[in-house]
């Protein structure tokens, strides 16, 4: 059985201007030790998918439908108290911006130890301290003991992100959700952090969901890829299939518009237009206004198809 199975998840936000369907019927699953990448533009609903799994949706948002089966429980039905025990223990999350996800007035050591002391009753402070130093070494932070006494502002962005990763790994979670973990970092540090995440998720045998807008990052790290557009998954399958033989026009566009090092043409390929506002989605396929293949058939939202070992939502793919 899959470690996590999300079935027809719908997270809506009931705003003054109307209902925003941030996540509108997403389904995917992830096995132990597997890495799933969720790719899409800002506003595509990828972060909200991650927050929904952790139960971090605040009003006016609400999970209106769907199941999130994690290790035999449906997370949607659990109370906040029960979720609190799971968060940071069985499931942990790495947020995008390391500058804001650490408390600036508490030392790194205290912040790390809190995660252990909260979830593991009966662990002595000394043991917790030792575990924290160990984990800081694992993520490759130099002078780990000295860093335990540091405050976040004394560390660089890359070091802070390592601390955040260490914190997420402390309780050996079964599932790790990383929301744009490297977007705020330089490419050199990004490569280090990505390598580390892949290595650690294999070592700890935990499943990883990587949320990002950069399809190149996803292709280097993930086993499976889900491409999201305007709240819905448009293509979902194994990495090799999706990256090297993309079927949905949006996935094709995303791959095509990446700048390539070994390409001599001057202009870049661009997907025309922008993603429609979730308050004013077009009738039919959400991508039709930006799609070169669209015709009157696309005025109906495409049904789910299984082609070439992956799931794709497009009339034009046969």
């Amino acid at each position: 059985m899959a470690l996590l199975e999300v079935k027809n998840l719908k997270t809506y936000f009931f705003t003054r201007n109307g209902v925003v369907k941030s996540v509108d019927g997403t389904s995917f699953s992830i096995e132990k030790g597997e890495i799933l990448g969720i790719v899409g533009e800002s506003g595509a609903g990828k972060s909200i998918t991650g927050f929904s799994i952790l139960g971090l949706i605040d009003p006016p948002g609400e999970i209106v439908e769907g199941e999130i089966n994690f290790d035999g429980r449906d997370l949607v039905k659990l109370s906040q108290e029960e979720l609190q025990k799971i968060r940071g223990d069985e499931i942990s999350m790495i947020f995008q911006d390391p500058q804001t996800s650490l408390n600036p007035v508490i030392t790194i050591g205290e912040q790390l130890m809190e995660a252990i002391l909260y979830h593991k009753k009966g662990v002595s402070k000394k043991d917790a301290y030792n575990t924290c130093v160990e984990i800081l070494k694992t993520v490759g932070l130099p002078a780990a003991q000295k860093r335990m006494k540091s405050y976040p502002h004394q560390l660089s962005g890359g070091m802070k992100q390592r601390v955040v990763i260490a914190m997420a790994l402390l309780n050996n979670p079964k599932l790790l959700i990383a929301d744009e973990p490297t977007t705020a970092l330089d490419v050199t540090i990004q490569a280090q952090i990505l390598y580390l995440m892949k290595k650690l998720s294999k070592e700890f045998h935990s499943a990883l969901i990587l949320i990002t807008h950069d399809i190149a990052v996803v292709s280097q790290l993930c086993d499976k890829i889900a491409v999201m557009y305007a709240g819905r998954i448009v293509e979902y399958g194994k990495k090799e299939d999706v990256i090297f033989n993309p079927l949905h026009p949006y996935t094709k566009g995303l791959i095509e518009c990446l700048p390539k090092l070994n390409d001599d043409k001057k202009r870049l390929y661009q997907i025309p237009g922008i993603m429609p506002s979730l308050l004013g989605l077009p009738k039919g396929c959400y991508f039709k206004d930006r799609c070169e293949f669209a015709d009157e058939q696309c005025d109906v939202y495409p049904p789910q198809q299984e082609i070439d070992k992956r799931i794709v939502f497009c009339h034009k793919v046969k």
């Binding site: 490419v187 490569a191 990505l194 580390l196 807008h213 280097q220 390929y269 661009q270």
Partner: protein, 329 residues
């Protein structure tokens, strides 16, 4: 650098030293820029590439006048502007415009787009109200801003549209030099391509010159004519785009290339962890600044600071080890 190219801006040995507090009573020098030299040629694009903390933004700010250089010269139209504040630059100021990284903070949230675009014209030109409006409308066509957007406020737009507005504001005075500081790094990949293409189109149309500042070496290929790679406040490699992409020479440039995520290359291996981080620009090492992260390091690298040397074809490299190997080959 062929003879036909006309220098628009010349940066000569600029140094910028900030004094920072390291203890209650102690201050130390932070060397943000160490003798940086380059020329920008009319109608061409120079890209400055490097990690955060390498001084690339400081270069931009010195040229724009937001910082005054500690030493050195910035020559624009035969005038040294390195130590001039914006208010003392007169006419020159309107010919150098900047596009900032974050379109969410660079546009005043309380002003309509119309007002944001009109402001530079009011300050720097004598156009009548009608002429100003015409200028704005014709630029809107070029940049891809719908006329109806002019009555709206910045918060009503997505990141990509805001960056279009920021570009329009920088272009409205038809500046000779545009400084673009990471103009696409805050945007989605699909929008990045649109903005890069737009910038190239505008440059062609208005024959403007550009200094493009970025940390991502994969995007500079499309937009640059020349590329300067910076590390800890100095240029470590300088070459034309073709030269640099054909054969990156400095170990740091090679490292930058190896860490670019690409769908056709697998994730970097264990060795990537050895590449470490950029060091603090306080207390710079005696020898080569890059020595701690360099895989080709030799004993001599800790002894003396290397110079920027031409290795042929105007390809400048600051690494004696690379040059030595080249002569052996």
């Amino acid at each position: 650098m062929s003879q036909s190219e006309v220098k628009l801006l010349e940066v000569k040995d600029i140094e910028k030293i900030f004094s920072v507090k390291v203890g209650t009573f102690e201050k130390k020098d932070l060397h943000a820029l160490n003798k940086v030299n380059f020329n920008i040629y009319k109608g061409k694009t120079l890209s400055l590439v490097g990690e955060s903390g390498c001084g690339k933004t400081t270069v931009g700010k010195v040229i724009l006048g937001l910082y005054q250089a500690t030493d050195g010269k910035v020559i624009f139209r035969d005038k040294d502007i390195a130590k001039l504040e914006p208010s003392r630059r007169g006419d020159i100021q309107k010919d150098i415009q900047m596009i900032f990284q974050d379109p969410y903070s660079s546009l005043n949230p309380r002003k309509k787009i119309k007002t944001i675009l009109e402001q530079p014209l009011k300050i720097h030109t004598n156009l009548t109200k009608k002429e100003r409006k015409e200028t704005i409308l014709s630029l809107c066509d070029d940049v891809g801003i719908d006329y109806s957007y002019l009555e709206r406020y910045p918060h009503q737009f997505s990141g990509g549209q805001r960056q279009r507005i920021a570009i329009a504001r920088a272009m409205i005075l038809k500046p000779e030099l545009i400084l673009a500081d990471e103009p696409i790094s805050a945007l989605d990949v699909s929008i990045q391509a649109q903005i890069l293409n737009l910038m190239m189109d505008l440059q062609e149309k208005f024959h403007s010159t550009m200094l493009f500042i970025t940390h991502d070496i994969s995007v500079v290929k499309h937009i640059s004519d020349y590329i300067a790679v910076m590390y800890l406040g100095e240029i470590v490699e300088y070459a034309s785009k073709q030269e640099l992409f054909k054969e990156p020479k400095h170990p740091y440039t090679k490292m930058l290339f190896s860490t670019v995520p690409d769908i056709h290359t697998p994730l970097a291996t264990e060795s990537v962890l050895k590449t470490g981080e950029i060091q603090s620009p306080i207390d710079l090492p005696k020898g080569c600044f890059f020595q701690n992260r360099c895989i080709y390091k030799e004993d001599s690298c800790t002894m003396s600071h290397p110079e920027l040397v031409d290795s042929g074809n105007q390809h400048l490299v600051r690494c004696p080890i690379v040059l030595k190997q080249q002569t052996i080959d």
